[in-house]
């Protein structure tokens, strides 16, 4: 079983090939510290091709494509999810969608006794976040996938009154919201982007259990922000509406 894994839900482009026994290889480009526009669309396909060539496999050997579906960057997710769907359709293999916040929390699951709170930068001074608690054999999500201010997440953690570790590019960007908190530790830049090894590991388990989706059904996980209509007096006046 060979999985192609794609994550474009943050400013980093991540691609991996692997299976139940781990990664054959991975490519990661860009990240929160890079001060130039992220180039998901230009980088993703060449990264896949480079990795495939270096690892020495043909795309025809891939058994399924797994993709991080967010919540995260709109522009990045569109590139990653579309690429996953198109490749899956062309190769006639299923897609295994995995939420990006799960992939930030999963590599920290051995932080026993602590809550794990990944936060992805949602712009506009907000983060996408969830809170997880380690349970034997894995993680359990204790909240929904939320959109809120870094302060909302800090309050959520304070209300729970447990030791916690926060991670993700949202935690790094808004570290001031968490720095002063008792019992809350900030994970380092190594935990800024969804973990590719975790993507392959979680997807391998789902593949074995035949929990996969048809390419047409896979959608990014969008958390809605606003239903406000635009104030269009200006256009109305100009167009005579």
């Amino acid at each position: 079983m060979l999985l192609l894994a794609i994550d474009t839900s943050t400013r980093r482009v991540g691609v991996a090939l692997g299976g139940a026994r781990g990664l054959l290889g991975a490519v990661e480009l860009g990240g929160p510290g890079i001060e130039e526009p992220p180039r998901h669309a230009e980088r993703l396909a060449p990264a896949i091709e480079y990795l495939r060539t270096q690892v020495g496999v043909e795309l025809g050997q891939v058994s399924a494509i797994t993709v991080a579906i967010g919540p995260g960057m709109f522009t990045g997710l569109r590139v990653g999810v579309t690429t996953a769907k198109v490749l899956a359709q062309a190769l006639r293999v299923p897609v295994i969608p995995i939420p990006s916040l799960d992939l930030l929390a999963y590599p920290l699951r051995q932080a026993t006794g602590r809550l794990i709170a990944p936060a992805i930068d949602a712009r506009r001074q907000e983060v996408y976040y969830a809170v997880y608690q380690p349970v034997p054999g894995g993680l359990q999500r204790a909240t929904g996938y939320e959109l809120g201010s870094p302060g909302d997440l800090a309050n959520e953690l304070a209300a729970r009154g447990h030791d916690a570790i926060v991670c993700g590019d949202g935690a790094m960007r808004f570290r001031d919201a968490f720095d002063g908190l008792d019992r809350v530790e900030l994970a380092g830049p190594g935990h800024a982007a969804p973990d590719l090894a975790s993507l392959v590991e979680l997807a391998s388990g789902q593949y074995e259990r035949e929990e996969f989706s048809s390419p047409a059904d896979v959608q990014p996980l969008y958390l809605r922000r606003s239903d406000a209509e635009l104030a269009w007096e200006a256009r109305g006046a100009a167009a005579g509406w």
């Binding site: 001060e35 130039e36 635009l230």
Partner: protein, 165 residues
Amino acid sequence: MKIRATSPADTRAVAHRLAALLRAGDVVVLSGELGAGKTTFAQGVAAALGVGEPVVSPTFTLVRLYDGANPPLAHVDVYRLETLQELHDLGFDELLDGDRIVLVEWGEAVTQALPADRVVVHLEPGPGPDERWITVSLHGAAWQARRAALEAALDTLRDHDGDAR
């Protein structure tokens, strides 16, 4: 700051002066009726930033990216949008990450989605056929600190009578 432009070339000249002061992360709202010269102004900004390709109105594409510009430029037109969510769905908030200059045509309709620090360029037709009044206003503390530099850059183009009105 109010400036009288008597031709599209004049409008582009104003845009050039403004563009020279712009940095990645800056947001410029282009306001004015259809045909007021918003796209002409955007062309002036793009040319000043080194965009070689033709700059057309993004009314139907919604967003055009000019990554070859220095700094990179995004040209957005919200004219066809009905809800704020559509703007978020375009990845507009990510364009504001700070690695580009962002021009927003009809941006006054989406004020809630804009950063506090922004420049508003309002264009309106004057009495002559190609005449335009261009009003540049600055919003937010960061632009107040840059006001003197912008005024100096635009000074020789200003119509001081117009300004005093």
